[in-house]
């Protein structure tokens, strides 16, 4: 079956890899989109509902703020503590409700998003906490609304940090996307499992590793590039220092 002298083996390999890469990119990009759309506001709320935060007292009630904060914190912690393979199985009823099935790449987007949202929300939380509170105060002194502060001050200022967080998030989505392959989710994980594991094809395994490596590294490079671009730090030396710091962090994150 692994007859490398047969030209059909190679055309098959290319077809299988193309399909797998396509499925992986599809799952990852849609899951990433969902993650940003849900995770960003979640991160903003996590920080905002803290004591002294922008949304510390929704509708004038600090109790409401505290409850929302505890609840979100709990949900995020829960999401982050459950091993992915278990989460994937546990959310099958939900997946079926949303997509109609729990098999295939589209269905895999649901657990992938669910695992990435809390992860990214924490990243957003960390990035927002790095923003100097003085900037919020300045915006307040200008008469800005909370929404204006989030949109015009907090998010733009935290953008470089959030981009690096996004790079880490995307890496972990790719990581988990390989796992959904084992439960009929398709993608490169599926290729590695069916051809590499079940049919002992080293070439498939190596090809999958190379492709995933290239995807992860390019995404990390893009994110770091933009993070650096948006990080307007002081003096040329300061800029180099900050860029190095960002690179170190990105390296540590992807590790």
């Amino acid at each position: 079956m692994n007859d490398t002298s047969d030209p059909k083996f190679w055309t098959d390999l290319v077809d299988v890899l193309l399909l797998g890469t396509g499925q992986t990119l599809y799952m990852v990009s849609v899951a990433l989109l969902v993650t940003v759309v849900v995770g960003l506001p979640l991160g903003v709320l996590l920080v905002g509902t803290e004591r002294g935060g922008l949304f510390a007292s929704p509708f004038g009630s600090r109790t409401a703020g505290r409850v929302v904060n505890r609840l979100l914190d709990f949900v995020v912690n829960l999401g982050r503590s459950i091993p992915f393979i278990i989460l994937m199985i546990a959310v099958i009823p939900f997946t079926r409700l949303v997509v109609g099935t729990f098999i295939g790449s589209t269905a895999a987007i649901v657990p992938l998003s669910l695992v990435a949202i809390p992860f990214f929300a924490r990243m957003v939380e960390i990035a927002l906490k790095e923003v100097d509170p003085g900037l919020t105060e300045a915006a307040n002194s200008l008469g800005a609304t909370r929404w204006q502060i989030v949109r015009k001050v907090l998010v733009p200022e935290a953008l470089p940090s959030m981009l690096l967080g996004l790079a880490t998030t995307v890496t972990s989505i790719i990581n988990f996307s390989a796992m959904v392959g084992t439960v009929a989710g398709g993608g490169l994980g599926d290729v590695a499992f069916r051809y590499g594991y079940q049919r002992y094809s080293t070439i498939h395994i190596v090809a999958v590793i190379v492709i995933i490596f290239v995807i992860v590294q390019s995404l990390a490079a893009i994110a770091t590039h933009f993070a650096k671009k948006f990080a307007r730090t002081s003096s040329p030396e300061g800029r180099v220092g900050a860029a190095e710091k960002l690179e170190l962090r990105a390296a540590a994150d992807t590790a």
Partner: protein, 330 residues
């Protein structure tokens, strides 16, 4: 213009509870530059933050331009804040925006549309002397330039009041001077009322019309500088005239004589020697420009006790000089 009435504010609960402001009342007149001095922890920052209600007082009221801000809803308060500019010690500029972008933020908040924002930002940046830096990022600017951006941002919406929270404390003396000059100019040309807090007496001396001393959350002294320097025992005045401590080894009567308002050119010492036959020693002297007027304080030592010099001192006081006996041999 700014009326702070019986404002109190506490932070923390239980054992960690601190009274940051204790029944503070202040009145800042229209077009005035008013300085609040005090050491760190005295309550200055809290006080200035109650003026635009960034810090809501536990009790008391704050009114700006006749409008009681402490009584407003959050929404109305936001609108009111647009008429009160504020500058900060650490500038608090957005690093992600250019100089122009930072100024435009103030206008975006108010809802000014794009082209008007651009022209207004350019105009105000020209006014603060940064016309050539509009496309720079804050990281590319010096401290003084950053503070000019902060000032431009705070004035973009044409407020009538400017609050300055230690605006020059992070700057070197040279830059401090230029920023203070800018504030003075803006105060004159725009009729801007300025309330500033500082721990530097030099700031008060060079631009303030009035000042208050705050200690432990209370106003210890308060008034126009021209009056304060004539007020016996004024601690602010003592800070304004840096004569140092009274020497411990003085053998006679040590008096501080303050000259102000046209009394500065009297031949006081010669007169004392001639008319009262006193051998006067000068221990120290300083001449300062306070609120735009020359004023001086001289520390003299007169031989003998205060009682023996009573006639001479009475004579000086009769001339309208402020004479304070700060050391007495008897």
């Amino acid at each position: 213009m700014i009326s702070i009435t019986n404002v109190s504010k506490t932070f923390g609960v239980g054992a960690g509870r601190t009274l940051a402001l204790d029944d503070v009342s202040l009145e800042v007149g229209r077009g005035e530059i008013f300085g609040v001095v005090g050491q760190s922890g005295a309550g200055k920052s809290t006080l200035i933050r109650t003026v635009n209600v960034l810090e809501r007082p536990d009790s008391g009221t704050v009114a700006v331009d006749g409008r009681e801000l402490t009584a407003l809803s959050e929404r109305d308060l936001r609108v009111a804040r647009q008429g009160i500019g504020m500058v900060f010690q650490h500038f608090n500029l957005l690093s992600s925006r250019t100089v122009r972008g930072n100024v435009e933020l103030a206008l975006e908040v108010v809802g000014v549309d794009g082209s008007q924002r651009r022209s207004r930002a350019g105009e105000i940046l020209e006014l603060v002397g940064l016309g050539d830096k509009t496309d720079s990022y804050p990281a590319q600017l010096s401290g003084g330039q950053k503070q000019r951006v902060g000032i431009a941002r705070s004035l973009a919406t044409r407020p009538s009041v400017l609050l300055s929270d230690e605006a020059t404390s992070a700057l070197d003396p040279e830059t401090t001077r230029s920023i203070l000059e800018l504030l003075r100019t803006l105060n004159r040309e725009l009729g801007l009322t300025v309330l500033l807090i500082t721990h530097e007496m030099d700031v008060v001396k060079s631009i303030c019309d009035s000042a208050a001393l705050i200690e432990g959350g209370r106003i210890a002294e308060n008034g126009r500088l021209v009056d304060l320097i004539r007020a016996p025992g004024s601690r602010l005045a003592r800070e304004l005239f840096p004569l140092g401590a009274v020497p411990a080894n003085a053998t006679g009567t040590v008096v501080d004589i303050t000259f102000s308002g046209g009394l500065a050119d009297r031949p006081v010492i010669a007169q004392l020697s001639r008319e009262h036959a006193i051998d006067v020693s000068i221990l120290g002297a300083t001449i300062e420009t306070i609120a735009g007027n020359q004023a001086g304080r001289t520390r003299l030592e007169l031989p003998g006790s205060a009682a023996t010099n009573a006639a001479a001192i009475a004579d000086l006081r009769a001339q309208g000089l402020l004479v304070e006996i700060v050391g007495d041999a008897a």
